[in-house]
């Protein structure tokens, strides 16, 4: 609770500073936005690591292979990462680069999930062969 108040204060302060800087030195405005993004991501990561610990505990009590959980977490990580970085590019006024970055993120997510999909297909074909 106190954390989110802190993060809100950081966001408002940095937004004010960025709008103050933008007319005189747009480069520094972009850099301040980058610093704010880095700090706020740090805040989010602190709680994310706790969430992942409880996630893995849940998976273990459910008796599910932890590798699947890990691949889900990796996909989530790539999604967050591309989201954050493409938002930064868009802030800097480069929406073209941002959309290419999103494309790259989608492709890398696809590459990461392909082994799981092929595994699933293999299991399905094995099950079909049993019939």
């Amino acid at each position: 609770m106190t954390d989110i108040v802190k993060i809100g204060a950081i966001a408002v302060c940095s937004a004010l500073l960025i709008s103050l800087l933008r007319p005189n030195s747009p480069v520094f405005a972009g850099l301040t936005a980058l610093a704010a993004a880095v700090l706020m991501t740090f805040f989010a990561l602190d709680s994310l690591s706790n969430i992942f610990d409880s996630f893995s505990a849940l998976f273990e009590t459910g008796g599910i292979n932890y590798d699947y959980c890990k691949s889900i977490l990796k996909v989530i990580a790539v999604a967050y990462f591309t989201e954050i970085t493409s938002a930064l590019c868009r802030d800097a006024g480069e929406s073209g680069i941002a959309s290419k970055l999103e494309l790259c993120g989608k492709v890398s997510v696809l590459v990461m999930t392909l082994p799981t999909v092929t595994e699933l297909l293999r299991v399905i074909t094995e099950a079909l062969a049993l019939i």
Binding site: F28, L39, L73, K74
Partner: protein, 64 residues
């Protein structure tokens, strides 16, 4: 987590903008450019360190 980072960078930005404007008003365009570049380098030094830390922690948390 150091919140002062944002204020530091914004402060450097304001100071550099004011100095560059003063220098360019007094007809020293080259020095204004130089001071802008110097400020940029300083801020980038501060920021790259933080970004590296962020990427490291992302890597450790997500097991990438």
């Amino acid at each position: 987590m150091n919140v002062e980072l944002i204020f530091q960078i914004a402060g450097i930005g304001i100071i550099v903008a004011v100095l560059a404007q003063l220098l360019s008003r007094s007809g020293r365009e080259e020095q204004a450019l130089m001071i802008t570049i110097a400020g940029l380098v300083v801020v980038l030094f501060i920021l790259t360190e933080e970004i590296g830390k962020l990427f490291d922690s992302i890597k450790t948390i997500f097991d990438l």
